[in-house]
Symmetry: C2
Subunit: 201 residues, 2 copies
DNA sequence: CCGCAAAAATGCAGACTCTGCAAGTTCGCG
DNA sequence: CGCGAACTTGCAGAGTCTGCATTTTTGCGG
């Protein structure tokens, strides 16, 4: 087992801090929340907070980073001969299907980011970190290096597709299905962006 | 004319601050530079610095934001019946061709970002701002709304392509031509990411 | 040319962020 | 058990960033 009591406790603390940050930010507004409050809510000292995150923004975004990381992990387990974008499709649908309380948490977080432009840079930074890992997975599939153009570009494009679809879904305010939006975006990437899609079917 | 003396002076101050921030960061390392030093170098008070930028990171990245904005402006002047990705190609080549001292400045800046991960979020935030405008231009071309999927996704994808190509170009350390890399990336987007490109020609 | 109202720049106080360092505490391995 | 590594914590200090009141510039109409 890779999980000593030590590691588990650290993870719990980390999550507690992230959750507290999100909770407080949603309730009082990001700007009104101080690191001291977050630390107190998670029952650690302010100094300890900074041992885990370098800012409250990072803490708020941490859960999403973890989530995206899990997505890449799952991607790595898909059959190697499946086209990459198909794998993404499958994993996305799977993750969107399962959710319990985590999904609600995620939606709150995404909404918070929209409401606080100050969070955007941090969210993007988190995604950028994931992109690296995603590129590695794609590269392996394609039998290329992680720094070849195709894997790198595909990784960013996939993240972009997800982001755009998510944004549109939020804007639609429940009138669309997120998984469908992501499918549509992935379709566009698959067939190429050379021309606008012909009129809706 | 839209440019009163007032506006011009403001722009000059803004640029002076950005340039000073970049210069100092390159010379002494980003972490070693304080807002006070930047302000002094630009001959304004520290307080004034914050009237223009909300952090030194933002100041460092400002020039690139301006540059990207110019790119979108030029894009808007291309013939409306030209395929979007072709327009991007043309504008990119044009801007990469012209440069005088500005290009060197840009390269320094991009290198600085690579060396300081702390800048990544800010760089990405700048690009995200541009994406909005880019999406609007693309939407107009395609006769769609700026929040339709195609324009939004294409805009992010184009930015992503540029970013990836730039990164790869930097890594290649002068052994490749940036414009070629961007072309290649745009080709991929045009033909679709469904399959890895067949072996090199 | 003059003087005025708007726009900018500035100084200052104060709250908060974040880091290094030097203790304490806790955990798990032998 | 008992020790060393890993964590947490407190503290001091430099720096960031904001609001507010004040002073300086600038553009304009008379």
């Amino acid at each position: 087992m890779t999980t000593g009591l030590r590691e588990r406790k650290k993870l719990r603390t980390r999550r507690a801090l992230g959750a507290a940050a999100l909770e407080l930010a949603v309730r009082h507004g990001l700007a009104e929340v101080t690191v001291e409050q977050i630390a107190e809510a998670a029952d650690v000292s302010p100094r300890t907070f900074f041992n885990y995150f370098s800012s409250k923004e990072e803490a708020v975004v941490a859960a999403d980073l973890e989530r995206a990381g899990e997505m890449v992990d799952r991607l790595a387990t898909r059959p190697a001969d499946e086209p990459v974008l198909e794998s993404v499709r499958a994993v996305t649908r799977a993750m969107l299907g399962e959710p319990g309380a985590r999904r609600k948490e995620w939606v709150r977080q995404v909404r918070l980011v929209r409401a606080n432009p100050a969070l955007v840079p941090h969210q993007l930074a988190a995604y950028a970190a994931i992109e690296q890992r995603l590129a590695a997975v794609i590269a392996e599939r394609a039998g290329m290096g992680a720094d070849d153009l195709y894997p790198a570009l595909t990784a960013t494009a996939v993240m972009a597709a997800t982001r755009v679809a998510t944004t549109r879904w939020l804007d639609s305010d429940g009138r669309t299905e997120l998984a469908d939006g992501i499918d549509e975006a992935l379709d566009l990437l698959t067939t190429g962006l050379g021309h606008p899609p012909s009129r809706a079917p």
